[in-house]
Structure formats: C-alpha cells, structure tokens
C-alpha cells in the first residue's frame, strides 16, 4: 500500500505531517471558538428571554 518514497521519505512524510497538523489545528481552533461563543451567546439569550 505505502508507496516507496526512497531516500526522501523523511522529507515527504514530514511535510505531510506538519501540514496536516497545521490544517487540523486551524480547523480545531475555529470550531472550538465557534462552539464557545455560540454557548456564550445562547447563555445570554436565554437569560434575556426569561
């Protein structure tokens, strides 16, 4: 299954790993912030609407 990366395996795998970590980080950060503010807003709205 795994393609033969030859002597550059480290470089290719490293690049993929680093990029995917960064992509996941920005996605996770965005989702986490979205959840948190949504919860905070819902909280305020609930208080306002009784």
């Amino acid at each position: 299954m795994m393609p033969d990366l030859g002597k550059y395996a480290d470089a290719v795998l490293g690049a993929y790993a680093a990029s995917i970590v960064l992509l996941i980080a920005i996605v996770a950060l965005s989702i986490w912030q979205a959840r948190r503010t949504k919860a905070a807003l819902d909280d305020v709205e609930k208080r306002r609407n009784g």
């Binding site: 993929y16 992509l23 980080a25 920005i26 965005s30 503010t37 905070a40 305020v44 208080r47």
Partner: protein
C-alpha cells in the same frame, strides 16, 4: 436585491449557515481525494524523486496565503468605503487562516528545500517575500488584538492592510533586485507551463480546489463566530445597563 444586503449580519448568518456545510463537506472530499491521489497514485519525478509529492501541499497553501491577503484587502476596502460590519469581521476572521496557510507553505517549502537545494532556508526573493507576508499577518492580528473598541480596530487594521499591501508589493520588487534566487531555478525540472505532466497536474488541481473550499468554510465559520461574539457583547452591555 443587491449583494450589499448580505452585509446585514442577520442575512449573512442565514445564508452562511446554508453554505457552510456544503463548503465543509466538499472541501473535505476534495482534500482527501486530492491528497490521497497525489500521495499514493502519482509517480516520482525523475530528478526530484518522491519529493515532488510535496507540491500538493506547497502550491495550494502558497496560493491561498497570497489570495487570503487579497481577500482581506478587498473586505477592508469595503469596510472603509461602505462601512459594512460583516466585511470588517470577515477580514478579521480570515487573518488566522492566512497565517496557517503561510506557515504551511513556509514549512513544506523548507522541508522541500533541504533535499533540493541542500538548505532549509535561503534568502531567495520568493521565500523572503513570503516571510514578509507572514510578518504582515502577524502585525495585523496583533493590532486587532490590542485594541478594545471594535470599530476603531476595524478602521485601523483596514488602513494597515491597505498600506501594508502597497509595501508588500514594494518589498517584492526590492527583494527581486536584491537577490536572484533559487526558487524555480535550474535544479527544478518542474515548470508549470512546459513540464508539469498531467499526472501531477490533475491531483494538484483537486488539492487547490480543496484548499479554496476549506478556506471558504473556515472563513464563514469564523465570521459567524465573530458576529456572535459581537452580538453577545452587545447583549451583555444592554443587560448591564438595565
């Protein structure tokens, strides 16, 4: 029905809520397909060997890094001229994504440079101007973070974005004059116009589409977050006054 109506937060929330899942799913599909296709099912380049596979990350992220700044420039202008809050918030929301893209381009480039040029980093014009772009992103985000009043922050960051763009172009020319550079130099067998074979080209296109869609999904999500945060703080203030 003009386009500007979507600058109203309510309309924007409704529309973006509908687009967001589509963009998210499509970007996920494109990224998975493109990256798997590129990583597992493309041949090695005859000179670069397997490192050519880095192109599927490097080129899309580099493209996005530049284009996100362009998008911020446009939304900043819209804020300055028409004062639509969603526009300013979209610029704010886009910046961290731009930072992530710039970092990916820089890191993959550096990792690629080690086998190709024998060095992690060289002061090549393109690399250098990328580093400067990175600094502009950082300054932009730091300025947003440092100012409490939202509209003031929007005004100042917009003007910074404008002035920064001019200086980014100036730097690009200056850097070119300063050093001829390695990027796309003789060591490269890949040259988009002539040499990129279809085997590399099609998966690359899919990856680029994936990155674009990912950006759209993220910027919508983050803009929604910013709008909610503004609403929450407005409501809190009203509560306090009551």
């Amino acid at each position: 029905m003009s386009l500007w109506e979507y600058a109203n937060p309510v309309k924007f929330m409704a529309l973006s809520g509908r687009i967001l899942p589509w963009a998210a799913w499509l970007s996920g599909i494109c990224l998975v397909v493109g990256l798997i296709w590129g990583f597992f099912f493309t041949p090695d380049d005859f000179r670069q060997g397997s490192t050519v596979k880095i192109i599927y990350l490097h080129v899309p992220s580099a493209l996005m890094a530049i284009n996100i700044w362009m998008m911020m420039l446009v939304t900043s202008l819209v804020w300055i001229i028409r004062r639509h809050h969603v526009s300013a918030l979209a610029a704010k929301a886009a910046a961290p994504i731009g930072v992530a893209m710039t970092l990916i381009a820089l890191i993959t480039g550096a990792i690629w440079g080690q086998p190709m040029w024998g060095t992690w980093w060289a002061w090549d014009p393109r690399l250098t101007s990328f580093l400067i772009l990175f600094l502009f992103y950082l300054g932009y985000i730091a300025l947003w973070a440092a100012i409490e009043d939202n509209d003031t922050a929007a005004d100042l960051t917009s003007i910074l974005c404008l002035v920064g763009s001019v200086f980014a172009v100036l730097s690009r020319y200056a850097v070119n004059f300063w050093n001829q550079g390695l990027h796309q130099g003789a060591s490269l067998s890949l040259d988009k116009e002539k040499n990129v074979a279809d085997v590399f080209y099609f998966p690359l296109l899919v990856c680029i589409a994936g990155f674009v869609l990912l950006f759209i999904a993220l910027v919508l999500l983050r803009t929604r977050t910013e709008i909610r945060a503004r609403r929450a703080s407005a409501l809190l203030a009203r509560e306090r006054m009551a």
